[in-house]
């Protein structure tokens, strides 16, 4: 508030000055960062996430051997242990594991982004509608359908869908999306149905606001902060599920690298070529940990802003 009163552009000269949008945005950003950075672990999480995202985007530039990410064979260097030449060793075809991990991040992140970009809007919208029409047939229809999806163990459902369809990245995305939206529906349903009886919603209704206004302007913004937190956490979980699917051969197909597929290939050469399975596995752990820590920080930040 204090900084905004220093930088002002006049709009209604006889009355007051309106704080500029950029100044207010910077203020909010600084406050949010203060809350986020109070927990050092969430800062570490953010750094890990940024590194993973950057290496995925710039994989052809940062990988020591970008050509190893496709069908490439160099039997002379097959099964080399970690060395200065291949920091994380090579696989049985002589491909650099570090380079393949960097390229596998691409598929994993793409998958999480696509899955969440489809599942979250669907889940949130259904939860919002069901919460607003609580105790009507609309609520029953949406929430019982959601229950059916939630009752099936997610990995089994994804396996079933992915195995019926041709195994590739696209179809594993479809499989994971189908099992992912109900979590958001249930999350938002709970928030929206309690928000629906808040006096500010009733006040808007009494003055004649439209259903669209009430759903999207009054209720939805008040349900979003746990959604954002859950999204950050879920990026990690989607990566894990996609790794599980590719571990059993239902995800990205060789020669394109995928983390789960690398772990499953490498597991056959344990313990002689231990680096073959261990480093991709470690990469999964680090990515998921990073997103989880970031999600925790996001929750601290958003929950306190609510009050």
């Amino acid at each position: 508030m204090t900084a905004s009163s220093q930088t002002q552009a006049p709009i209604l000269p006889h009355h007051f000055h309106k704080p500029s949008v950029i100044v207010r945005f910077r203020e909010n950003l600084r406050k949010s960062w203060f809350k986020y950075s109070r927990n050092k672990l969430s800062v570490i999480g953010l750094v890990v996430v940024l590194l993973v995202v950057l290496t995925a985007i710039f994989a052809p530039l940062v990988s020591p051997y970008p050509q190893h990410a496709s069908a490439f064979v160099d039997f002379e260097n097959a099964g080399q242990p970690p060395s200065l030449r291949n920091l994380l060793g090579t696989d049985v075809f002589g491909r650099d594991i570090l380079s393949r991990i960097f390229f596998a991040f691409r598929g994993a992140l793409l998958m999480s982004i696509v899955v969440l970009a489809i599942a979250v809007p669907i889940g949130v919208l259904l939860g919002l509608i069901a919460g607003y029409y609580k105790n009507t047939w609309i609520d029953t229809l949406i929430m019982r359908t959601t229950d059916v999806f939630l009752a099936i163990p997610p990995i089994i459902l994804a396996l079933a869908i992915a195995s019926v369809l041709t195994p590739n990245l696209m179809n594993s995305m479809i499989a994971v999306t189908v099992m992912w939206w109900p979590w958001y529906t249930r999350l938002v349903y709970g928030m929206a149905s309690s928000c629906r009886n808040e006096y500010f919603v009733i006040a808007a209704e009494l003055t004649g606001a439209s259903k669209a206004h009430i759903l999207f302007r009054e209720i939805l913004p008040n349900c979003l902060s746990p959604v954002f937190t859950k999204m950050a956490l879920d990026v990690g979980w989607v990566i894990l599920i996609s790794a599980s699917l590719s571990f059993v051969g239902l995800g990205e197909q060789p020669p394109t690298p995928a983390l789960g597929q690398m772990v499953s290939d490498g597991a056959r050469y344990m313990p002689d070529l231990w680096w073959y399975a261990v480093f991709p596995g470690l990469a999964i752990v680090i990515v998921i940990l990073g997103f989880n820590l970031m999600g925790d920080g996001l929750r601290d930040m958003l929950e306190q802003r609510m009050g």
Binding site: L12, I202, L206
Partner: protein, 338 residues
Amino acid sequence: MTDILQIRKLKKYFVVGKNADGPIYLRAVDGVSVDIHEVETFGIVGESGSGKSTIAYTVMGMYKPTAGEMIFKGQNIAMEVSRRAHHLKKELQIVFQDPGSSLNPLRSIRQLLELPLRLHNVVPPNQIEEKIVELLEKVELPPDYMYKSTPSIGGGEKQMVAIARALAAGPSFIVLDEPTSALDVSVQAKIINKLLDLQQELSLTYMFITHDLSLMRNMANRVAIMYLGRICELATAKEFFEQPLHPYTRMLLSSIPTVSVEEDRMKPKKVISIGEIPSPVNIPSGCSFHLRCPESDSRCVKEDPEMVEVRLGHWVRCHQFPSTYSAGEQTMPRPNKF
């Protein structure tokens, strides 16, 4: 003096369960008839669970009445708000008890005030900003508050914003549902004075609901006291506080804590308060107050008393008061002000 709102035999029952005889009802409002005059403050007092807020919410259209009529400026409003004509949503506004929950914490005050202005085309879109400044001035808030959100301002200021929002649409009738009970005593007087000023300035009719009797005395022109969904006494504020007739009114007035000897002298002779209000699910037979009434007799247990006008404009529901006026068509008194 014309009536702005006529309520006839209004009932609002809530289904709370089911037994062999059918549904179990909570009789929140059980036959209330009242006329509210233009530009008056009509006060409703009562304990928690007496149905005073339910009347207000039914008038606002949050509930569909179980039975009865509500006529607002000649139009039937005995229905939910979604079925009412659009201009009625402008005419009837409400200020809730807790401004913390009645104002969306994620919207700026500008957005909050803009909504009713846009919905009811109060001003052309290019004058909305000026109108918001004007509204904030009316409730004595600085104009740059429009860029703040409600969690960053004080409780009294929030309630002022809620009042400004109620005024934005340009209403003629405002329900005040315990507008000061969530606030500090120091800001209560400010809010009440502001409301009274605005009433004069904009010719507003208030339905004022509270359980604070001293506040009621300062605010209301006429007062109705409710017990288990019914009005048991209705009088001008002056008569209500100076010559209370119903044993329940006397009991409540005698229980007000006082701060001075003068005030204490004004109170009715001590009536001992017996017990608490029964559940509106099991309303006692006969006069619903007989269980707690120090003056009850066998007649009160069996017979339900009628509302009787014992003096012009002073109505009581008690067997002690036989009718002196005709108990037929209700003729309401003029308020003591205006």
